[in-house]
Amino acid sequence: MAGVSTPPPMDEKAKRTRDLLASFYNNTTNSNSGAPSSPSASSNLTPRAASSLDSINSPSFDASSYMSLLVEKSNLEGLLQKHVQMAAEIKNLDTDLQMLVYENYNKFISATDTIKRMKSNILGMETNMEQLLAKITSVQSKSDSVNTSLFEKREHIEKLHRSRNLLRKVQFIYDLPSRLNKCIKAEAYADAVRFFTGAKPIFEAYGDSSFQECKRASEEAINTVIQNLQGKLYSDSEPIEARAEAVVLLKQLNFPVDNLKTSLLEKLEDCLLKLEDESKDVSVGEISKTFRAYLIIFPDSEQRLIELAQGLFSRRYDAVRDQLKKRMLSVDLLELLGIIWEDVTTIDQVLPEAALPAFSLESTCSSIRQHISIAFSHLQHGISDAVTGSQSKSNESRDELDLQIVLENSKKAAMQGSLDLLAELRQFFDEKLELLLKLRELITDWVQEGFQEFFQNLEKHFILLSGSITNNGPLGESSHSDVLTQSPDKLPTGLVLVLSQLAVFIEQSVIPKITEEIAASFSGGGVRAYEYGPAFIPGEICRLFRSAGEKLLHLYINMKTRKISVVLKKRFTTPNWIKHKEPREVHMFVDILLQELEGVKIEVKQILPCGVIKRHRNSDSVGSGSTNSSRSHPNAMREDKLTRSNTQRARSQFLESHLAKLFEQKMEIFTKVEYTQESVISTVIKLCLKSLQEFVRLQTLNRSGYQQIQLDMEFLKAPLKQLVDDDDAAIDFLLKEVNNAAHERCQDPIPLETPILDKLISAKLVKNKDLSASPL
């Protein structure tokens, strides 16, 4: 009810102003500014803003301001109430104060009592203390007198005791020899050594004078002890502990143990050497036992033992490598490696510090690697022997027959050899040797690498054998100098074809097969860094061999045409074509040409497959338009007989040939060579005819020369077509081209009459028949 009456008559405007001010000063306390009873809010505006009605307990309490505030804020009833409340509080406080004063006074009284009691107690103590001091002094003086009276006797006793000890020691030393002997008898060497070492200082001090005899005797005894100990050490039958003890004792006796050790180790080394010589004389088990014994006996000999063990195994691996230089079977190698590995593990148990497994792993790696590379090089030799070796055996006359056999042999050598090698190498995986399991990936890589390199080398070898890179090839092939010594020219051209076909065979059959096999059993690997990819890249090898095959095939064709080209060159450069005599017969170079081509055919027939009979690419079109396909020279020739002006005739002829060419499709003479009999033969023939044409173009002929060429070409027509089953059109075309060339280069191109031509040709045919009949 007070709350309702308390607010002074404050109009709305004043209230708003106060609110605005409050919000301006951002005072947090005026959250209740809007409340009607908030005297503090207005007091906030006064300088003593902190003082309020609640600050009565604070140290900064100001009674007068409090009073005025109270009077100001409260109505009468409130003031009365406050008064009553305050009076009660004051009373309470008063009683509390009285209580506190009383309690403190009580404590003070009891404290005074206690102090009074203490004072009385202390008064009696002083006399007691004086009595005590006097008694203690008397006790001390008595004890001093006793001590002095006993001093002399005690000293005497001590002296007696010392001499007795000395005597006992002397007695011990005199007894020492016999005691030692007793010990020797009982084989209690340890006691003996202990006694002796005990007496040793005395011997050293007085050995020369008083105990001479005694020292000698005991040294004798100890010598026997030493001998016995040595004997014990050397005897393998003694238990190791005893031997070790012997060493310790010997060491205590200042015996030069190191000499012993070295002599023993030398013995061991001899023993190890013996092990290599006659392998089964000493077993590795024994050796490992010895190793262990020595390790215990001579703890400091480890280094030497490690050296010995490593030496032993490195010698053994060297021996393996020596054996590897000869081609050995994987099984044998595996067996050898297995034996060594077993030994290694045995010794490793004794001597783990020697790191023998790591060493042997390394050595095994290198031996296997060597083995693989040797295997591959043998394979390569095998293949090249298959190609060349049989050649040396076959004499010239049988050479032709042999080509096929050579091809078959070398194919077999390549395929079977590779497969055998693979099968052999696969044994590395069959073996359940722990060592090899670790190496599995490495071996995979090596085998793949091996194949990669093998094929690359093989390809190089092929090219080299073929002699296409002569010894002055662009890159100095120094690595193959050994092969170069056997002149590449010696390789007959037929074998080039064999090589070519072999390359194709390798590309098409061997490599896929090998890839398959490798995928089956040598996949994985990948120890090599990834950026190099797998070691064996069949694609690359295939490409290599494909190009090699083509290269060799072209080389073959090239070699053949070159040979023929020499014949042609001689034919066309030697005679004086301008003064050629009238043709009487077909020139004999034709025979040589045909003979060469026949030779090609025989070689090709043996090696290359028969191609699908296929017309020449252009033959169809040429055939269909055969009326205008042939060059128009026949017309021109006919025109020759007409008496036109020279210039006009030739010009028209030239134009006509141009025109004819426009109508005629360009004859593809240089088509891609395929691996077929027909393709190769026809390519050779085409190249020869083209050369013929070029040779003719370089000459200037008279009429007879032209006629001679016309005759020769006419004669060639039939046998060439016979040689080439398809591609007649190309042959026709080229023969005609030769004729045209001759015609162009002739000063007076009048062809032979057909009857004369026929007559001469048939005469030649008859002659040839006679010739071929007579040797039979």
Partner: protein
């Protein structure tokens, strides 16, 4: 690789032809001289010029030449002087000619014969000018001899300075004059390439066992030359190491007839063959040593050196010539008398 027919064709030659030569001394135009080879006719020498727009070939002059031309060279310092080697039946000869003023309206004027080089006793094979500029000497090669002539074109005098026979056993068939050394001439022999020193007239050096058809010195690098051969296609040689070729290129399907270095772009080689193709090669020879190369280099080396094969020809090609005025242009002449001028720009830019 088969280039479509990009070349500009000139069909003005009416007879078979073997020889085409760049007119080096013409600084303003891309000009070539082509000579025909016809037994029966008056042969012609055509002076042809690539139009400034570069898409047309114009015949600037047509001159009668009585005998069939087997070799034709343009004088490297005077665009109006040329040399030819010709035969007529069994007769043969070589001359230096001057192109007459074209002002005369005559359709096919005669060439003015400056000098006739007629000291030869065997069939003349080729006339060589020193390729890089003015030099008062001329070399001619016949089957048995090499002649060095002193030429005075203004006074129309030619004198033999020296002459040397190679003997009956050899058959010379052509040669090239070293642009780096005025005293060195490479002569093609039966089975070798002989390098002659013109001062001593001695055979100084030789590449043996090579059946060479054509030889061309590298105009940029001394001692390097290219040969066109029957057996090996194209081979590049360093004359200081005549035993081993630097490079081998496969050449052509049939004979490789001619080989020419580009006068400007190093390693760009043009070859022509009787298989009716012209091949453009890119090879690098020299500084980089082929002995030390990593597999990666080897792979990059396997880039096909054949940049392009121009196959749009009807007959064997015996004549090719780079233009020295615009080194990206070459002219080729096939036996049927067609001159084709091609630009190799698309293939150079790729580099």
């Amino acid at each position: 690789m088969q280039g479509a027919s990009t070349g500009i064709v000139y069909g003005g030659l009416k007879y078979q032809a073997r020889c085409i030569a760049d007119v080096r001394a013409d600084p303003d135009h891309t000009s070539f001289l082509a000579g025909t080879l016809s037994l029966k006719e008056e042969n012609e020498v055509h002076l042809i010029r690539l139009s400034p727009s570069g898409n047309e070939i114009l015949c600037e002059g047509l001159f009668y030449h009585q005998n069939e031309i087997w070799d034709l060279k343009s004088c490297p310092y005077d665009s109006r002087i040329l040399s030819t080697v010709y035969t007529s039946g069994e007769a043969y000869g070589a001359s230096v000619w001057k192109i007459p003023e074209i002002s005369s309206q005559s359709n096919s004027p005669q060439l003015d014969q400056l000098v006739s080089l007629d000291e030869h006793t065997a069939k003349i094979k080729s006339v060589l000018w020193w390729p890089l500029g003015k030099h008062d000497k001329l070399v001619t090669i016949d089957e048995r001899n090499i002649f060095v002539w002193s030429i005075d074109s203004s006074n129309k005098i030619a004198k033999v300075i020296s002459q040397e026979s190679v003997g009956m056993l050899h058959n010379l068939s052509g040669g090239a004059w070293d642009p780096h050394d005025r005293n060195a001439v490479a002569a093609i022999c039966d089975s070798s390439l002989q390098c002659w020193d013109l001062r001593t007239m001695k055979n100084a050096n030789a590449i043996e066992h090579a059946h060479i058809r054509d030889v061309d010195y590298n105009p940029k690098k001394q001692h390097i030359l290219a040969t066109a051969e029957d057996e090996f296609g194209i081979r590049l040689w360093d004359l200081r190491m005549p035993k081993i070729p630097l490079k081998e290129l496969p050449g052509h399907l049939h004979w490789t007839w001619a080989v020419r270095h580009n006068p400007d772009y190093d390693g760009l080689i043009l070859s022509a063959g009787t298989d009716s193709t012209v091949n453009l090669w890119q090879v690098s020879v020299g500084s980089e040593d082929s002995a030390i190369d990593s597999p990666r280099d080897r792979r990059s080396r396997q880039i096909d050196p054949l940049l392009n094969s121009y196959t749009d020809y009807e007959d064997s090609i015996y004549g090719i010539a780079w233009s020295s005025q615009d080194p990206s242009v070459f002219a080729s002449l096939s036996y049927d008398g067609r001159v084709v001028v091609e630009s190799v720009k698309p293939y150079i830019q790729r580099k």
